[in-house]
């Protein structure tokens, strides 16, 4: 709907009687600089930028214009400048390449910075070595789509976030690729927005970082090999569906770090080969359904500060620890999951195991208290302790159990992509 409206306004702008098109090119006879074309243009006009290398310092746009790149013209910030600053409603930026912005420790220099604006469309652009890539503050009703952002940050302080939103609402981030930034996608105080089908890989800190951002959905994104995975914090009412969390290895790396989250939904996601699939701290009334946890160190690390969560119909396979917790009081429901470590039986053949499964192994509890004990993992002694504890539980929380473990894994392949 939002897209439709944007397209409509775009066409109305195009067809209105006095709308003009300006051509910027390095060839004689044309307007030679984008700055000059912007100065000439009126609201609703279009500027077409032909291929070439443009070094124009900081371009400030305060008119409602459509700027289209033809054959990928390059705007170079010469490692000194913020390239494009937008402070106007209804602006479209399409098909441009932004390279080499400045780097600063106090100001957040960006390739495209959007301030206090509405109806901004950033589509099909490329960004290389930007400090911050696309930066939106106090803006709304905008769409960031099909952009590719690559940076080669080695030190976290020398690189900013790929797509950075601060105090925004109704923004869609769709089908972008972000690599090598500090946080791939960063949301702070952003509400009613969508993050869909993005690919965030090899960023130094988080693939996606989400704080104080309510009522947002993130769907079908891929987060691979980021420094610390994905963090969602101090937020309520988020939907996380169909995402892939993969290869987030390291001592403080998580597939998904959830801290102080309420009334949310985590479903049909795939957690593969992470140090910790999901780490939950202070999470309440959240539904974890139909997720796949495969080959993680810990599939789920549930801190005692979490309550009223439901874990159901998830598949757990080949994880070192399926679940770990630091408390004994259990206020969460864990039912109808598939656990490859389940050794029970199903005499009445209803597909559900007849004895409950305790996903927290005694060794997970020991490691939680004495982290160095992990050295003894897979030793004969540990296997022995595990067997003894299964027979007569002493340390493992008695109530943390799946009463209806399924005998066969759920077929979730169709849902997660």
């Amino acid at each position: 709907m939002k897209l439709l409206l944007l397209i409509l306004t775009f066409f109305i702008a195009l067809t209105s009687a006095d709308a003009k098109t300006y051509f910027v090119s390095k060839q004689a006879g044309h307007i030679l600089s984008l700055k000059k074309a912007i100065a000439l243009a009126q609201n609703g006009d279009t500027i077409v930028v032909e291929a070439g290398l443009y070094k124009e310092g900081n371009i400030i746009l305060e008119k409602s214009l459509t700027i289209l790149g033809h054959n990928l013209p390059v705007l170079d910030g010469e490692h000194k400048y913020e390239i494009l600053t937008i402070h106007a409603d209804n602006v479209t930026i399409q098909g441009l390449k932004f390279i080499n912005t400045g780097v600063a420790s106090i100001n957040d220099i960006a390739a495209i910075k959007i301030l206090d604006s509405k109806g901004i469309h950033i589509t099909n652009n490329q960004f290389e070595n930007a400090f911050f890539g696309i930066y939106l503050a106090n803006s709304s009703q905008s769409r960031i789509e099909n952009n590719v952002l690559t940076a080669k940050g080695t030190y976290e302080n020398q690189i900013g976030n790929g797509i950075h939103l601060w105090k925004c609402e109704h923004v869609t981030i769709h089908n972008n690729v972000v690599k090598g930034h500090r946080d791939g996608i960063y949301f702070e105080f952003v509400t009613n927005s969508l993050i869909t089908n993005n690919h965030s890989e090899g960023n130094l800190r988080y693939g996606l970082h989400f704080m104080f951002s309510h009522n947002d959905d993130y769907l079908y994104n891929r987060f691979i090999n980021n420094g610390a995975g994905v963090a969602v914090m101090y937020t309520k009412n988020v939907k996380m569906i169909g995402n892939l969390f993969e290869q987030n290895w390291g001592s403080s790396a998580y597939g998904l770090l959830l801290k102080d989250i309420r009334d949310s939904q985590v479903s049909q996601n795939q957690f593969t080969e992470n140090s910790i699939g999901i780490h939950l701290e202070g999470v309440s009334r959240t539904q974890f359904e139909s997720n796949t946890f495969k080959a993680n160190g810990y599939a789920i690390r549930l801190q005692a500060s979490s309550d009223d969560n439901v874990f159901t119909k998830n598949n757990f396979s080949s994880n070192t620890f399926d679940m770990a917790t630091n408390g004994t009081l259990v206020l969460n429901k864990i039912n109808n999951n598939y656990w490859d470590k389940y050794q029970g039986y199903d005499l009445n053949k209803d597909g559900i195991g007849d004895v409950p499964f305790h996903p927290v192994s005694i060794y997970a509890i020991i490691v939680e208290r004495i982290p160095a004990a992990v050295l003894l993992w897979r030793s004969f002694l540990v296997t022995l302790i595990d067997r003894a504890e299964k027979a007569i539980p002493v340390l493992t929380p008695e109530n943390l159990k799946d009463d209806f473990p399924t005998m066969k894994p759920y077929d979730l392949a169709a849902t997660s992509k």
Binding site: S105, E156, N157, L204, R205, M211, A228, A231, S252, K259
Partner: protein
């Protein structure tokens, strides 16, 4: 050989007992409260208990979340340190530091507070900020 081992053991014993603050390692250390990896070298804080246990934070509100929780008695800190905004990564005494608070200050956990070794009138005017000392800041972040 035995000497080397002895020295190693001694070194271990002494290192374990030291009550010295540790530098914040940005990009690696995690905030004790919010679990975020420290990134922004203009912000950060550290508490060292009299027994030598070190807690690191990325922002002053994270420090106060822990400080007010009462896990450690407030008299039991050997050091209370914050990072000087104008001298990235430098830890300064939190009790003598001056603090500026303004929505213009984008700190990692949105405390909107920056710390300085001494008053910074230029930035105070630029941000239109309110200035605090440690005790007033403590009041601000105590619920």
């Amino acid at each position: 050989m035995t000497r080397t081992i002895n020295i190693t053991i001694l070194a271990l014993i002494f290192s374990a007992c030291s009550k010295e603050p540790e530098p914040l390692i940005y990009g690696k250390d995690q905030c004790y409260s919010c679990k975020m990896t420290l990134m922004d070298r203009k912000f950060g804080a550290e508490l060292v208990t009299s027994k030598g246990k070190i807690y690191k934070f990325d922002d002053v509100n994270c420090l106060f979340n822990f400080y007010n929780e009462g896990t450690v008695n407030k008299d039991d800190y050997a050091f209370k340190l914050v990072v000087d905004f104008s001298q990235p990564e430098k830890l300064i005494n939190a009790e003598t530091a001056r603090y500026l608070k303004s929505p213009g200050i984008k700190s990692p956990m949105a405390s909107e507070v920056a710390a300085f070794e001494s008053s910074n009138p230029t930035l105070k005017a630029e941000w239109n900020a309110t200035e605090f000392g440690w005790s007033e800041l403590e009041d601000q972040f105590t619920r």
